[in-house]
């Protein structure tokens, strides 16, 4: 039967053609194709990996940023607090100083006043003494104009003196 009786010629040509096709395609088609596919896959793989890495880095960078911001915020709060403290302190100090100053002024004023008062009192005493002496002098002079009165006075003085 012809169908299952293949010709030797076809077998020969098939060996030749298939063999040549195998060699040529193997060297000039499949080799570069497989190489290129492999390279492309590798590069895609690498790109994906690096994208992953970049994302990871981004994330850590963001975390860092957040941390830095947090730190900055804390720092700011700290500085503000310090400033407020300092302000309060300064105000307190100023108040204190003002108080002291006032106290000092008041004290010195008081002292001055008292000094002045004493001086005035002394002067007044002296003046009063003076006046008293003058009055006494005048009175004495008036009293002494009359004999009787002089005797009487002497008598009074003597009376006053205790001779015991």
């Amino acid at each position: 039967m012809e169908l299952v009786n293949p010709g030797i010629g076809l077998i020969f040509w098939m060996v030749v053609i298939f063999g040549l096709l195998l060699l040529v395609l193997g060297k000039y088609a499949w080799k570069p194709i497989m190489k290129s596919l492999h390279e492309r896959e590798e590069s895609i793989d690498k790109a994906l990996k690096s994208a992953d890495k970049a994302r990871e880095e981004m994330k850590s960078l963001q975390a860092d940023n957040e941390k830095l911001r947090q730190e900055a915020r804390e720092e700011r709060d700290k500085i503000l607090k310090q400033a407020r403290d300092k302000q309060n302190e300064i105000i307190e100090q100023a108040r204190e100083e003002a108080n002291q100053e006032r106290q000092r002024i008041i004290d010195s004023a008081r002292k001055e006043i008292s000094n002045e008062k004493q001086a005035a009192a002394r002067e007044l005493r002296e003046t009063v003494a003076d006046i008293s002496l003058k009055i006494a002098e005048k009175i004495t002079r008036q009293e002494l104009e009359d004999e009787k009165k002089q005797h009487k006075l002497v008598k009074e003085y003597f009376d006053e003196i205790d001779f015991r």
Binding site: W13, F18, L22, V24, P32
Partner: protein, 370 residues
Amino acid sequence: MNKVTLSKTLKIFTPILLISILLQVNPLYASENSESANNDSGEEEFNAGKMILDHIVDHYSWHVMTIDGKEVAINLPVILYHKGQWHFFMSSRFDHGHSSYKGFKIAKEGPNNGKIVHVTHKNGGKKVERPLDLSITKNVASLFSAAIIALLIFLSVAKRYKQRTYKAPKGLQSFLEPVILFIRDEVAIAAIGKEKYHKFMPYLLTLFFFIFLMNLMGLVPIPPGGANLTGNLAVTGVMALFTLIITLTSSNKNYWRHTFNTPGIPILLKLPIPIIPVIELVGIFTKPFVLMVRLFANITAGHIVLLSFVSIIFIFTNNIDPIAGLAVSPVSLLFGVFISLLELLVAFIQAYVFVLLSALYFGMAMEEEH
């Protein structure tokens, strides 16, 4: 059946004929015309079996169609080596098998039916000899075409790959890439393993695409298609032989130990009568043999079924009535289309199966002890 009825029938059939061209059954029609033309002499009746067989075997000239009884055929070179002498001539010398040339003629019967034989008349007796026949037959010519098409496609695609290594595939490249990756990932890596598949890739890819291409070309009715390449045992047999040779050359010690001294088998099955080793040894050769027969049988069967459906029209026309032939033709053509589409699927599946099994055999030959 006279000529008038025939031409009338043909007129009615013209639209269907046009459709049938699209449906890739054109050569059948062409041949049928010649058959019918022969019928005019009243010598031959339409013989579906003969016609179908005629379509799926090899020929020395490439018959395209017959117009008004005139055959349109591509004559192919005949290359013969007989008794220390080479003979080169065109197949037109045989006048489509009707005449002989230099004592060579195409045998019409016997074991060499359809092949060139050398006939010498001596002492009143006939001596029939078969020369070494390396003719460029229809199949060989189609084989050349397939190889050239394969080279054109894959060399250009390879060039594209070189230019666009890191870019997405484009055009034909993007059409072929999934198939290449499929062969690599689902066939080679799956069957052979990730470490060793590399060196088999050129063979597996060439095998797959060549079988697929030949299968498809077998479905195209006009040259360079139309030859039943993968439905020829020579073609499938050579490919199976390549698979066998590669299997044997890449086999390791473990493979041969498994063949001759299969572990885990009772010793009585090996000695004194080596049943299992013999079975295993025969298995080495039956595997490629089955590869050869499977592809051949599947493709040939597809062609036979397709041709049979179309033959129904002529059987009805010739044996019952032209009207009956006309009536049955839509059904026939519908089934023809269906079978054609099925054959497209089979073309892929058989190429895939051939390659997958080859890869499995390579994988088995290289399996390490576990």
